[in-house]
Symmetry: C2
Subunit: 455 residues, 2 copies
């Protein structure tokens, strides 16, 4: 058994420097949805990797560039880290207790947009690499980084990027961009992600808004059109009405159910954290709630805008309406099929006037919970977190794991600095500093144990 | 027959001064919905009336103050002008060709928010009064002004104001805040207005937004809740489903139909101006389109807001959604009944979570098309517009005419500077200067002829 005392000492004694580096990274806005600060952030990340002796390329895509980095190690095998430098939009700004791009530490947490998703993960990995180089003078295996800038906008160019550069990106195992503990501080191995098909539905019924007193009885109303179209897709029963939408759904296996049963009860914690009074479809908790959360397709309205939205009243009949709609997909659904099926469904329902803009998608993908690299990641967590890592076979979120799992043919495991209170995608996003240190140690152990393993 | 040469000469030779005064009034924002500039605008209007020898009071209400003005005339009878100094919000600002509160004249039109609705009407009346005083040294009858500041937010305090001050406001006849010509430049006498019940429907399903990957399968979604609730109120058949909603509807009379039949065909003009491809309920034009436009109850979504509305995608599950909804009412519907019926309907449909905020309402009200004062207003238009004024017995819009017609017991007729291209409530609101001059002359003739009539 390797002694990790020196590694741990390094991580602890250099914590402030590492957090200062993270703070610099979080202070650089990189909002993919608004194309804000992307090149600047890519250059900042590239510089941080170069400092560690990585050969780095800022590789263009049709969207934000990918930061690719590689450093050879003692053994001829390769661990690939997938991360992303882009962040979610910070709105609504008024709900932040401190400005989203002015990182601050309070009560043992760093607050900033992107600190948890995904910049804390990136810098914690660099922190672990620094500790290994300081301790061993070299890396035990080759390490590659693929750090993209469009994860929060559905990684629209990453599939093609991986397809084109699959020789350069060739690796043996992959650590995903996130990971961490659950609400009990138990480390979780997240395996498998739902797919997604993200669209904007919009309709224009006139060239200008009309006075509602004039047009109300006789003009089509864009807001009504869109509401009716959306309602035709899903009603209060939550069933998605696109024909054949559930045909390719693979229900959870017995092994999935067994793993989900071992997971803790989260219903009260979820209700408390989000302030929801009830769950959909009559669910109250237990394994059925947990299975529904991740193994079911969804259709979520993420945003809707039309007409006057200010204070008080304005008697206007809106000429335009649009909605952002997110379909989460489970194996073996495919985003391209959803797009086709949605267009046909709207046309057949008399909603030819509704335009569909494809904003991005991912197929669902899973890694075998019994893969040996997954086992290594689980084993290395125990000494850090002082308890066994639990496996969740599937998560509700989406990410571009399909090309890593199916194009690069990698087992994908998770390890990181996240926790359920991180408010990722919401105001007051934050990262716990105690978990930052643990996450870095876990990464250091994964690298060293993988390097010296027979895998 | 009175000779109006002197009046006309005055109006023409002092046109630039009058437009400069109008420009000063339009440059003062007075957005009732945002409570912006209301007191300042009331004081500006009050000052303009004082200059003309009116005794003026800025009378408080629970909302924006009412500017009340009175000047005695030769004969002991009273003409009351109802106007409003508030304007609609100017949004969307990017669609204006010049800033909404920086009035400019181009191509024979003045552009500014409020120039047509309703500040042009106010100043054109003052211009007419100036001409009469200049010509005759006095007014032929007492003139009162009630100029409120909440017309665009449903005149929420005006009913009570009129109720409380009905002795002070006592009059014999009333000229309404608007009037003008149709798309053929034919002067129109607009009689009767639909009522309105304007509400905001809102729902909060959680205390914070959630990541759509987490909550999509299990958390209630505020946008979906509101969409389903709205859809339950009205579907693509345009029928409003509140029980009993049509019970009190008085269909148009034979006289109404006859008057509407005499109105011109507007279907092509409406399609062209608004850029709509079709009318609702299979209507194509003719008297049926015109009757539907004004004699039918409506339910219009004026605005809808929820979740992320910026560029690109954000995978968020919104905790809050709200919509502005405008029910137009026809005789003898009542806004208070709609509120009760809406609450019951939502509750019975399982939408107890939808909150209703009442933003204002008006009952519908009509003046008899055969009233003698209406006849006088029609007769005085002909020499100005060089053609007969047409009567439309009812318009689609709403206003606080109920307390004038039913509390003060006045016949209410219209005369003014409006035209269909004025873009009232929309970007690039404008007023034609040729019609401004005609409107002022018509008002001068109404005052003088009414003063010397037997009415």
């Amino acid at each position: 058994m390797t002694d990790y005392t020196q590694i741990k000492n390094y991580l602890e004694s250099h914590l402030d420097d590492s957090l200062a580096e993270l703070s610099r990274l979080c202070a650089q806005p990189s909002i993919a949805a608004q194309n804000l600060g992307m090149q600047e952030c890519a250059e900042l990340v590239a510089g941080m990797l170069k400092q560690r002796g990585f050969s780095v390329e800022i590789m263009p895509t049709e969207g934000s560039p990918v930061v690719y980095a590689e450093r050879k190690g003692k053994h001829d095998k390769t661990l690939l880290f997938y991360n992303h430098y882009d962040v979610q939009p910070p709105e609504p700004l008024e709900e932040w207790d401190s400005p989203p791009f002015e990182p601050v530490i309070r009560d043992g947490k760093m607050y900033a947009r992107g600190v948890s998703d995904d910049k804390g993960h990136i810098i914690s990995r660099l922190h672990a690499i620094d500790a290994i180089i300081e301790s061993d003078g070299e890396l035990p295996c080759t390490i590659k980084f693929v750090i993209e800038g469009e994860e929060e906008t559905s990684s629209v160019h990453l599939h093609e990027f991986i397809e084109v550069h699959q020789d350069k990106l060739a690796a043996d195992v992959c650590i995903w961009e996130f990971g961490g503990v659950d609400h009990r501080d138990v480390p979780i191995q997240y395996l498998g992600m739902r797919g997604i098909c993200y669209v904007e539905l919009s309709v224009r019924t006139a060239k200008i808004d009309a006075h509602s007193g004039l047009g109300g009885s006789i003009f089509p109303n864009a807001a009504w059109r869109l509401i009716w179209a959306l309602r035709s897709i899903k009603g209060t029963d939550e069933h998605i009405r696109l024909p054949g939408h559930y045909d390719d759904v693979v229900p959870p296996s017995e092994r999935d159910r067994e793993l989900m049963e071992a997971m803790p009860e989260v219903s009260d914690e979820l209700k408390e954290r989000y302030g929801v009074d009830y769950f959909l479809k009559g669910l109250t908790g237990g394994v059925d709630l947990r299975l529904a959360e991740v193994f079911e397709p969804t259709c979520t309205i993420c945003g809707f805008t039309s007409g006057y939205q200010g204070e008080g009243g304005k008697t206007v009949l809106p000429a335009f309406a649009s909605a952002k709609v997110d379909f989460r997909l489970v194996p073996n659904q495919r985003p391209e099929n959803v797009l086709i099926s949605l267009r046909n469904f709207l046309d057949e329902g008399g909603f030819e006037d509704i335009e569909i803009t494809y904003l991005g998608g991912e197929p669902p993908a899973r890694t075998d919970p019994d893969d040996p690299f997954v086992a290594l990641v689980i084993q290395t967590a125990e000494p850090v977190y002082e308890q066994p890592m639990q496996i969740t076979p599937m998560i509700g979120g989406s990410g571009p794991s399909y090309p890593f799992i199916h194009t690069l043919n990698l087992p994908v495991a998770t390890a990181g600095v996240g926790y359920p209170g991180s408010q990722a995608h919401a105001p007051n996003e934050n990262m716990r500093i105690d978990l930052y240190l643990k996450g870095a140690e876990h990464i250091a152990r994964i690298i060293k144990e993988y390097g010296s393993s027979d895998l």
